[in-house]
Amino acid sequence: MGKQKWALYWAASCGGCEIAVLDVNEKILDIAAAADIVLWPCAMDFKYDDVRAMADRSIDVCLFNGAIRSSEQEEIARLLRAKSRVMVAFGSCACTGGIPGLANLTTKDEILDRVYIEAQSVVGNGHPVFPQPHTRVAEGDLELPVLYEEVSKLSQVIPVDYYLPGCPPTPDLIMTAVNAIATGQLPPPGAVIAGEKTLCDVCPRVKQEKKITRIYRPHQIIPEPQKCLLEQGLICCGPATREGCGAQCIQANMPCRGCFGPPAGVIDQGAKLVSAVASIYEGDTPESVAAMLEEIVDPAGTFYRYGMADSLLKRKRVGTAGK
């Protein structure tokens, strides 16, 4: 078997996934040995036209990170899908929408107003200028990608073969995926390259019957290192989050943030977290329940931190009815 052809792409994400690929350290040489990189805009100089010129399904594997929220991202996602035999949603944003997915709690107009009018760094914009998809200049037509009303996870735009979750995916998981791809020992299509159960299954902390009377934010207490964080009042997303990360945050005495997405079978990670937390809360008066709700600052951002675009509701309603 000759050398494989790989493409790596970066859509709506922070770039951490790109760094994560380099985080495999010296094993990057194994990757280089196994594959020729044909597209990696972050690290190497390729042109989209080079990809367009390739035959369909001529790329063996595409590692696609980032969510889809602009016309350019969608266009390249579709292009890479056509050219690739195997499409991997790489990292939380591609898998479930990730942090950019929280933009679905607002609207395109609100975002543009914030950035081009309201932001403190905007000065002298008496006549606000918004980015235009097309601008005529003497040299011709300048084109900018269009920002979409909503953020989508990759599989809502193109068919995806495998999911490699994490914010970012851990080097171990990346190497597991690389080895599987390199040796052709791939799991069945649609598989998530991580565990099947939730983080609690591998969490080393002692878990007991759960009842909490108040909720803390991570900066408010130093939790006991051996005891379940949820039992200590911290919103740990572990019970509704797929394992596979090696419980890194837990071992650093921090609650799980949920970046690996829901475990197999769960349709809506945030809803599951909400019902789990509500179920163990020991409030029996309307007042105590109201007090607990006050203690959860930014519930949508807490329970749907990585899963807004992947949720049943997906987004805030747009249009007059939603405002």
């Binding site: 939730t198 878990k207 019902s275 179920s279």
Partner: protein, 663 residues
Amino acid sequence: MEDNNGKGKTRERIGVYVCHCGSNIAGVVDCPAVAEYARSLPDVVLARDYKYMCSDPGQTLIKDDIKEHGLTRVVVASCSPRMHEPTFRRACEQAGLNAYLFEMANIREHCSWVTDDKAKATEKAKALVSAAVRRVVWQQPLQTREVPVTPAAMVIGGGVAGIQAALEIADAGFKVYMVERDPSIGGHMAQLDKTFPTLDCSACILTPKMVSVSQHPNIELLAYSEVVDVQGYVGNFKVKVKKKARYVDEEKCRGCGICEEKCPGRVPSEFEEGLGKRKAIYRPFPQAVPNIPVLDRDNCLYFQRGRCRVCERFCDSNAIDYEQEDRFVDLDVGAIVLATGYDLFDASADMRYGYRRLDNVISALEFERMCNASGPTAGRILMANGKEPKSVAIIHCVGSRDTNYHQYCSRVCCMYSMKFAHLVKDRVGHDTKVFEFYTDLRAFGKGYEEFYNRVQEEGVTFVRGRPAEVTDVPETIDEVGKLIVQAENTLVSRQVRIPVDMVVLSGGLEPRSDTAEVARMFNISRSQDGFFLERHPKLDPVASMTDGVFVAGCCQGPKDIPDTVAQAAAAAVRAVGLMNKGKIQVEAATSMVQAELCSGCRVCNKLCPYSAITFDEEKKVSVINDAVCKGCGVVAAACPSDAIVSRHFTDAQILAEIEGVLV
């Protein structure tokens, strides 16, 4: 049958039946149009509309279609599943189709009864049918199971309701545990002097029943005890009862009363509504059952100051035990009757009438104790100065029929107020002036109207009007030293000021102050007025929403003694019926843990109201005991990893249903 509907499901053959319910549904919903629409839905092989689906011909229609057309699923669009789900499930089973392959769409309560808009009601009925059709495809056959019923009942509350229920159940041959919070059973009825309209002596008719309770071989009385925890389910409840420390050994005490006689402590008596005193070691009243005193620790010299022990010294049977502690007993029962009674509305909440502020403004129960021969005044109606009143005003509807307090009518106040009027005339003298201030007179029971006529003939003055206030500030020389009742006589549209010596406030009946906690403990609902909610206001007024828990007496709503006794007997029959059967069918739609998905996070462990869930420490997974699970779905909803499946309410079923509504 073999092709696929795109959801990984085999094709089903669904029959849809749209019920007219006479004109109940068909008057608003276009039933033929709904049936027509149903025919267009996936997997539906036939759809019919029919006048009464629950009738025999209606059920036969379903049965014949299952056989002739090979239906594999059935949907009936009619009333609430609470009404006829069992009917249609049975029909399906009789035709050989598993009962859980049936689904019901409620197009009566949810459509025709909530709007007059025919177009919208029809549209909604179509959506509900669409939801049911899409859901039923995902339903799976389930098997119901039977479990044995514990042949013992618990009656909570030892008032007349509880007493009646306990005696009925015990007479039917079943063991009864009667739990009473106070030192003696008897409840409010024991405090009353006479009962309307017959004027029987309340104690004379009640105390024989109290004694029967204490002597009945099938009744175990746990007085001065409270239920602290209830687990389990119909037929198999596990109740934890706290027996509060009496500091008197029940086995040794012979009830001679010497301790009570010698005790130096004197505190206001709860039973006498604070009008009389009792000792620190006491029986609330002479005929108390059990006839065993209780030592009131907070008012006992020995407990408070460390010396005295007089009761111990005089007790011949060495029954005094200062070391006694609260004890907890666990009881297994098959049925529970709640008969926890009521609280009298606290008239001091209504400032206008001066209760606890003005002398000689007294509550209904205070008046009862005053009239009672064994009460604090030995049956004499007396003012604070020890003299008899020459005129008495009785104010109805205090706290009742008043949007500031309780909207409902307390049903007994009119009658007991007229009984009071009679008692004033009887005890103080026929020349005593008595004024009844009423809103409307409600004398609806057997012999009640006759009693009203009798009291009128006795010369009682009836003033139709709710008094604005009771004051001791005189405006004329006649009013000096009197209580003046200011009211509008609405029959003549004129303000009246009536000076009297005494005012009796006929307070309404309200839910016990701890009704919310009790409801939570027994997992039953309350109606808007705060009383326990019966399962159906007309057809099932003695059952609660929780199987095996029945309600009797004023805890379910204000009622008089005859109604209370009738309801208590009815509740007893229901409990006996349950125990007589010996076995009950339990829900097949239980929940299960898929061990391969459970991560052992233990979120679910404390949630099950029936204690059906345990944690397997070895395998680190949670486990549901199928025999105990009632399928309430709490843990399935809470399980953050979807490891728990609630049978008959799976994600696939619910999502298909939602999708069906939205299509």
